[in-house]
């Protein structure tokens, strides 16, 4: 049987092996190793795509008028005539320094273009995440409290229905309702956050809402299940026996323990939101990273394509790490021991 890469799965009774600090740091160490590995693998995959494309800058830029000399020259210019593994390392090395090469077409450094485009996606994704937590959290808690009642069943039904609809359809419906019919919010365009927060909000709220609905639905459903399950646990009885009000039991104890799976769902939603930003960019005409990638793809501009992919991957990785870290911090004991009550 495959043995485990063993990290302290169960803490022995009475002693904390290596002290409390080491115990709380260890899971983060593993997290780091895994993330680093995934990062390296993604860079390889990304680079492989570029290598497989077989496109060359001359063909992309000059089209059919490219002569063999042109091709050779441009290949040399862009460092494409050295062995692949060398190209990979150079590319990776540069990337880690923030240099993602230059666009074959515009010769604008890719990192510059990304620097202007990325904040658009990030700000909207951030807003979407906040909205997802608020809506999903409230719905999940309400459903759990009602437990089998009207609120519960309505929430579950809505969540299931929402899961079958592509977010861009939701986005379009939002546009129809709020822009076309009500005329309250704009249907496209963007103002950066630093420039004018109020205007930013006006433009950002619809795309953020479209992005968040999916995640809010999953979160609500998962939270409800976890909460309902947790409320049957003995420690809830224990807390009630101490005379705590329902509110205190729910927020002080149950949520803390039941939030694990819900956080996981939220964590899974982060890359969805970031990836989904692509669709919303098209829907709402936002100058984000996906537009950059799309244009690059149309033109066959490999550095741009690779650069955008890499940056998006990094963003997702960082977000995942953060969520995982929060999960660990919030609930180290239950996770280490495997289940409430611990291993004894």
């Amino acid at each position: 049987m495959s043995a485990a890469i063993s990290v302290t799965a169960t803490a022995p009774i009475g002693t904390s092996r290596g002290g409390r600090l080491v115990q709380s740091v260890r899971p983060f160490g593993r997290l780091l190793v895994i993330t680093a590995t995934v990062f390296v693998l993604s860079t390889i995959l990304t680079f492989a795509l570029g290598a497989l494309s077989g496109a060359n800058p001359a063909a992309a830029v000059l089209g059919e008028t490219a002569t063999p000399a042109d091709i050779a020259r441009m290949r040399h210019e862009f460092g494409l005539d050295v062995p692949l593994w060398q190209q990979y390392l150079t590319w990776l090395g540069n990337a880690l320094h923030g240099d993602l090469g230059r666009s074959w077409f515009t010769t604008v450094p890719v990192s510059d273009s990304i620097r202007t485009a990325l904040p658009v996606d990030l700000s909207i994704a951030g807003l979407a995440l906040v909205m997802a937590v608020l809506m999903g959290g409230a719905a999940g808690i309400a459903a759990a409290l009602s437990n089998g009642g009207v609120v519960d069943r309505t929430v579950t039904l809505v969540c299931s229905a929402v899961a079958t609809v592509p977010p861009f359809v939701i986005g379009m419906m939002l546009i129809v309702v709020f822009s076309v019919k009500l005329g309250a919010l704009p249907s496209g365009g963007y103002v950066p956050l630093e420039q004018d927060p109020v205007e930013w909000l006006r433009f950002a709220i619809l795309p953020a809402a479209a992005l968040s609905i999916d995640a809010a639905g999953s979160l609500a459903r998962q939270l409800r299940t976890s909460l309902v399950g947790a409320m049957r646990e003995n420690y809830v009885t224990g807390a009630e026996m101490r005379g705590f009000s329902r509110r205190r039991v729910l927020f002080g104890h149950v949520l803390r323990n039941a939030s694990g799976p819900a956080l996981a769902v939220l964590g899974m939603a982060v890359p969805t939101i970031i990836g989904g930003a692509v669709i919303t960019e098209k829907l709402f005409n936002l100058p984000g990273i996906a537009q950059l990638a799309l244009v690059g793809a149309e033109q066959g501009d490999v550095p741009v394509i690779l650069g955008t992919l890499l940056v998006t991957v990094v963003v997702v990785l960082i977000a995942s790490m953060v969520v995982n870290a929060v999960q660990t911090a919030l609930n180290p004991v239950a996770r280490r021991a495997g289940q409430p009550g611990g291993a004894r």
Partner: protein
């Protein structure tokens, strides 16, 4: 049984039914727990002792309800009717006037908070203590319940402590607000014998120092033998015998109690055969004519199953037994 002054708990003719068909799992149970008194509620599983206990605590599961009778906490001006209490009343009573410890202490604690935090939380929320004083008082309480190195224990999580230690923690939690009554539901069942004895000693000590009333619910006669002033024996949902512990154990007046003693063989180390009560207890809610123990009783006669059996009482001795033949069996003596 009439209410006495200075009584902490008064359970009067309690009926508890289970399920849609309302089968009676607890029938006409009445008892009191006086101030500072320790009462043991003994019975095997299915006897109704747990449901009685849970009725007092307001923790009946869905489908189970109190169909009749009353449960009252406190006396005089402080009396509270727990049978009809709603959540708000319970929140004021639980912890403050009524505490409880259960079997499997680990599961009654929040696994992701330190035990100290959970005790301090009670003090901060219910008594309004600030962080510092709450911490200090928690450590005091941990010392009082016999935990070695209480400062260290404060920062430990439930899964890091042994069963005995956890039970002490739960006891600390239960008595932290100085309640009038502490209910222990099979609190020592999951512990090994030595630890069990220590916990029982602890409970007795707390009883003295805090003027605490105790209700010990258990299946183990040995537990009540040393700790309880009075004992109530339950069978088939009814109380079949009650009285001062020493007298009931020395001179039982109900055949079931006698049989229980024979099985437990308390103090009788010379016996070599394993005593067993033939047959099995009635299902919860099963309706039987007459005495519910009769089918398994050595001394049963025709009259026993003719009609429901009332409690025979000996008021001067403060004893009672639900047996038609209690008087004449007395002279026959104990088990062979």
């Amino acid at each position: 049984m009439s209410p006495q002054p200075e009584q902490t708990l008064w359970v009067e003719r309690l009926d508890v039914t289970v399920g849609a068909h309302r089968r009676a799992a607890v029938r006409d149970v009445s008892f009191t727990v006086g101030r500072g008194e320790a009462v043991g509620l003994v019975g095997e599983s299915g006897s109704g002792k747990t449901l009685t206990c849970r009725s007092v605590l307001g923790l009946l599961p869905p489908g189970v309800e109190i169909a009749g009778g009353r449960v009252r906490l406190g006396s005089g001006a402080d009396e509270v009717d727990l049978t009809t209490a709603r959540r708000r009343t319970w929140d004021k009573v639980r912890g403050v006037r009524l505490g409880a410890v259960f079997q499997d202490p680990a599961s009654y604690l929040n696994p992701s908070l330190t035990v100290g935090h959970q005790l301090a939380e009670v003090l901060r929320t219910q008594r309004g203590l600030a962080r510092g004083p709450a911490h200090a008082r928690s450590v005091e309480l941990f010392t009082e319940v016999g935990l070695r190195d209480p400062d260290r224990v404060f920062h430990q999580y439930p899964h890091e402590l042994s069963g005995g230690m956890l039970q002490r923690v739960l006891i600390a939690l239960a008595v932290s607000l100085e309640p009038e009554l502490l209910i222990a539901d099979e609190a020592t069942t999951a512990l090994d014998v030595v630890v069990q004895a220590e916990i029982l000693q602890l409970l007795s000590r707390l009883r003295r120092t805090h003027d605490l009333s105790l209700l010990l619910v258990t299946h183990d006669l040995a537990v009540v033998a040393d700790t309880c002033d009075r004992v109530l024996v339950m069978y088939g949902g009814e109380i079949v015998e009650s009285g001062p512990t020493e007298q009931v154990l020395r001179d039982p007046r109900h055949p079931y109690t006698r049989a229980l003693l024979a099985v437990a063989s308390i103090g009788d180390w010379s016996r070599r055969t394993l005593e067993v009560i033939p047959g099995s207890p009635p299902e919860a809610g099963e309706e039987l004519p007459g005495c519910r123990f009769a089918p398994r009783c050595r001394d049963a006669v025709a009259d026993c199953t003719a009609e429901p059996v009332w409690l025979t009482t000996w008021p001067d001795e403060n004893r009672s037994a639900r047996c038609l033949r209690a008087e004449d069996l007395e002279s026959v003596g104990g088990p062979s």
